[in-house]
């Protein structure tokens, strides 16, 4: 498994709003800023579209960190979508903490369309913080937990020979 090898690299899934943070990431590109290649951006029209389920799902599917990027408070292209994001993220942060995830694995940043350098800074920072924490590897953990079930499954379904239905 790759996550256990020495060349493990953190995988960060990012959800960026179209108008500010996604555009800022474009600006970072146009300005040829270099940052860590560990991030995969999913574009949403507004950070308010971010359903907390997506964050949970990203972790469950193997993300080591999740980054949310939206417009600064008061700057939302859709007036106040980012306030809704802030409310959801505030509660989600607490819940993820209660579920045992280190706080560095989940981050909300307000990055305006002009802050290409902030994209670079935040991504690099987060990749390093997550790297220091090591792999989260939820799929691997699930597989480890479920290994215990192989034995009985085989025992009940395969060791006994099939008993045919009687015809009366």
């Amino acid at each position: 498994m790759e996550t256990k090898s020495n060349n493990w690299e953190p995988r960060i899934v990012a959800f960026f709003c179209n108008w500010c943070t996604y555009t800022a990431a474009d600006l970072a590109g146009v300005s040829r800023m270099k940052y860590a290649p560990n991030i995969r951006v999913i574009r949403l029209m507004c950070s308010g579209r971010l359903d907390p389920q997506y964050v949970m799902m990203a972790f469950a599917k193997g993300a080591d960190g999740v980054l949310i990027g939206g417009c600064h408070p008061g700057d939302c292209h859709y007036v106040e979508g980012n306030y809704k994001t802030l409310r959801r993220v505030t509660l989600l942060e607490r819940m993820l903490h209660d579920l045992g995830l280190e706080k560095e694995r989940f981050r909300l940043e307000w990055i305006s369309a002009s802050e290409g350098d902030k994209v670079k800074k935040v991504v690099n920072e987060m990749v390093e913080q997550v790297r220091a924490l090591g792999p989260l590897d939820m799929p691997g953990r699930f597989a480890d937990w479920d290994k215990e079930m192989e034995e009985l499954e085989a025992h009940v379904n395969h060791s006994q020979k099939e008993i045919p239905a009687h015809v009366h």
Partner: protein, 665 residues
């Protein structure tokens, strides 16, 4: 049309090299080969320039040949070319929304080093798009009509130029200006660089053309109070402040000004940068447009106390143009497009106390000097010291005050080198003084600009390279007695110099208006970190903003000189005109809708919408989304506790399949 089937999508994947922009970092061939293995992929290719005609033709041909029903293009940012490729899909006979774009340039090759990591990223992102696009549904393109009227905010040279261009093309324009007159900063200038033609001679005809144009509604002394709506259908409320003068009745005879109980001007004249005094009733300057007076409520005795002989009313006589009962008036208009030309404000020189502005009387800002050298200015063009009579024998012009300075503003204000040289020429011409320019670099990159710099050197104007440390009056020698001393490191000569002068001119930079953040929020556009309005693309869409139908022109977008401002104003007018002439604009169909059978009527979504697009059907007891009002942010979709709200192009199955596939290994 190849309608996508539910059972087995047929996907085409195209990896763009973008010359070497992508291919120089990402192994495009490898990405295409890997993508060929992804589920449902029928065709996977890499190509040099996907956005080129042959690139687009490739997609169209494959759609027909391989019966493709979904397309993925991995190239640049969707903000740049999504529209292009959607068009290619449509031309190929496919619904344009059965398309997904992957950004492997701005988000990958341009920000990462060449190597496996960048290629892996391109593969992951492409895999996610392939997985996502399988869930895309064909959608109908929606359009909205464009109201033909235009609002222009700001009546400086940018606003004037844009207004005239549009009005001459037959469009109705509302020009809103905060000050009592249009003209902006240009109206204060004597000459313009590098041609030294008279600013008033070229500006005032345009100002009066605006005032007289049948297609222009000019509202000065007015501010935008509220903006609602969207491209094509903006509803703007303008607050017209009371000027206590009935505009239609005033003929600008100035008799009320003469008759005012104040025999002499007593209050700082804004137009002359406080270098002269005005009365409470005044006309900003002789060529003001509209050419009418106003009464300043802050200084007029009658407005403040109601106890005045009102000699002005008497002087106006039968015309009865003065109306002290005037109140602020709200005007609401419908426009389809808006051009913001709100300009800049000069840097406040007091922020750099070591330059002595406000401490030493004979330290001036460049705008004050513009008024001093102006024949219609407070001294009728005589350059004299603050005492009102002494001609300076030596003048120092300090460049980059509030520019190229980490402590104040990092940007170059672009105009100061040139206007400083213009002022140096004019001061020398008016006074024959020794003029010293203290500069970091001379930036003269315009037509005839470098030649102007040479001309100045020939005229004997001194240029000393070095940022000035301080302007002070402490003395080291007799010859400094009574003078201002400019301390500077002369970086060409390599030593610190003390240059005594009679007058110091601070070449203040340009900065965004103090309220630029409020203004851009009002119009829902973005700002750069510094506060300049942000263009949609620095090269390809310099007057567009991220909000459709709102354009920017002039120095509100960043410091620029008059030629650039006028060019940009023309461009903004042309962009607005192009929308108007098209009659309508395509909207993203990414609206949300409620699946009524799954809605429990819990009302969670209703307050989520900032556009009041969601209401409750009280008979069926379910939520209903008005598609015309929905702008597609998806906040209600995320909030819906039963997943009963869906969103076109950003639905749960589309996003979750993207998450899963982006992490698949």
């Amino acid at each position: 049309m190849n309608e996508p089937t539910k059972t087995q999508p047929r996907i085409g994947v195209y990896i763009c090299h973008c010359g070497t922009n992508i291919a120089g970092v990402v192994d495009c061939k490898a990405v295409a080969e890997t993508a060929a293995q992804y589920p449902n992929v029928v065709v996977s290719r890499d190509y040099k320039y996907m956005c080129s005609d042959p690139g687009q033709a490739l997609i169209q041909q494959d759609i027909k040949e391989h019966k493709l029903d979904r397309i993925v293009v991995s190239s640049c940012s969707p903000l740049l070319h999504e529209h292009t490729f959607r068009g290619a899909c449509e031309k190929g006979g496919l619904n344009p929304y059965c398309f997904q774009m992957v950004n492997i340039r701005e988000h990958d090759s341009w920000v990462h080093e060449k190597g496996a990591a960048a290629t892996d990223k391109a593969k992951d992102l492409t895999r996610a798009a392939v997985s996502r696009v399988a869930h895309h549904k064909p959608l109908e393109t929606k359009t909205t009509p464009i109201h033909p009227d235009v609002m222009i905010v700001g009546g400086g040279i940018a606003g004037i130029q844009a207004a005239l261009t549009l009005a001459n093309a037959g469009q109705h324009v509302y020009l809103v200006e905060r000050e009592p007159t249009i003209g902006g900063y240009m109206a204060k200038f004597d000459k313009t660089f590098p041609t030294l033609d008279c600013a008033a001679c070229i500006l005032t005809p345009k100002m009066s053309a605006v005032g007289a144009h049948p297609n222009i509604t000019l509202w000065t002394y007015s501010e935008v109070a509220k903006v609602d709506g969207f491209v094509g259908n903006y509803k703007v409320v303008v607050k017209r402040k009371p000027r206590y003068i009935i505009e239609d009745l005033c003929v600008g005879c100035n008799e009320c000004v003469t008759a005012c109980v104040f025999k002499e001007g007593k209050f700082e004249d804004e137009f002359n940068m406080g270098l002269s005094k005005r009365k409470p009733v005044y006309m900003p300057f002789p060529q003001a447009t509209p050419p009418i007076v106003l009464i300043d409520p802050e200084t007029c005795i009658n407005v403040k106390t109601g106890k005045c002989k009102k000699t002005c009313v008497e002087a106006c006589g039968d015309r009865q143009a003065i109306d002290f009962t005037q109140k602020a008036e709200m005007k609401e208009v419908q426009v389809g497009t808006i051009i913001l030309a709100t300009g800049f404000q000069p840097f406040d020189a007091k922020r750099i106390p070591q330059y002595g502005y406000g401490i030493y009387p004979n330290v001036y800002t460049s705008l004050e000097i513009e008024r001093l050298v102006n024949a219609s200015g407070p001294t009728e063009g005589h350059v004299v010291l603050r005492d009102g009579k002494t001609k300076p024998k030596s003048v120092g012009i300090v460049h980059c005050v509030g520019s190229r300075d980490n402590k104040t503003h990092r940007w170059c204000s672009r105009v100061c080198c040139m206007y400083s040289m213009k002022l140096a020429h004019l001061i020398k011409h008016h006074t024959d003084a020794e003029v010293f320019n203290f500069y970091i670099d001379i930036r003269a990159p315009g037509k005839g600009y470098e030649e102007f710099y040479e001309k100045l050197q020939e005229e004997g104007v001194h240029f000393i390279r070095g940022r000035v440390a301080e302007v002070t009056d402490w003395q080291m020698s007799k010859e400094e007695e009574g003078k201002l001393v400019i301390r500077v490191e002369d970086t060409l000569a390599g030593f610190v110099r003390r240059i005594p002068v009679d007058m110091v001119v601070l070449a203040v930079g340009l900065e965004p208006h103090a309220d630029s953040q409020d203004v851009r929020r009002q119009f829902n556009i973005s700002c750069s970190t510094e506060g300049w309005f942000l263009e949609r693309h620095p090269k390809l869409a310099p007057v567009n903003t991220f909000t459709d139908g709102i354009f920017i022109a002039g120095a509100c977008q960043g410091p620029k000189d008059i030629p650039d401002t006028v060019a940009q104003a023309g461009a903004a007018a042309a962009e607005a005109l192009s929308l108007i002439k098209a009659g309508s604009i395509e909207l993203e169909p990414n609206t949300a809708f409620v699946v009524a059978e799954e809605c429990s009527g819990c009302k969670t979504c209703i307050p989520m919408c900032p556009y009041t697009a969601i209401s409750r059907d009280d008979v069926k007891k379910v939520a209903v989304i008005n598609e015309a009002l929905c702008k597609g942010c998806g906040t209600c979709v995320a909030a819906c506790p039963s997943g009963a709200i869906k969103q076109n192009l950003f639905d749960d199955d589309e996003i979750t399949s993207e998450i899963e596939a982006i992490l698949a290994k």
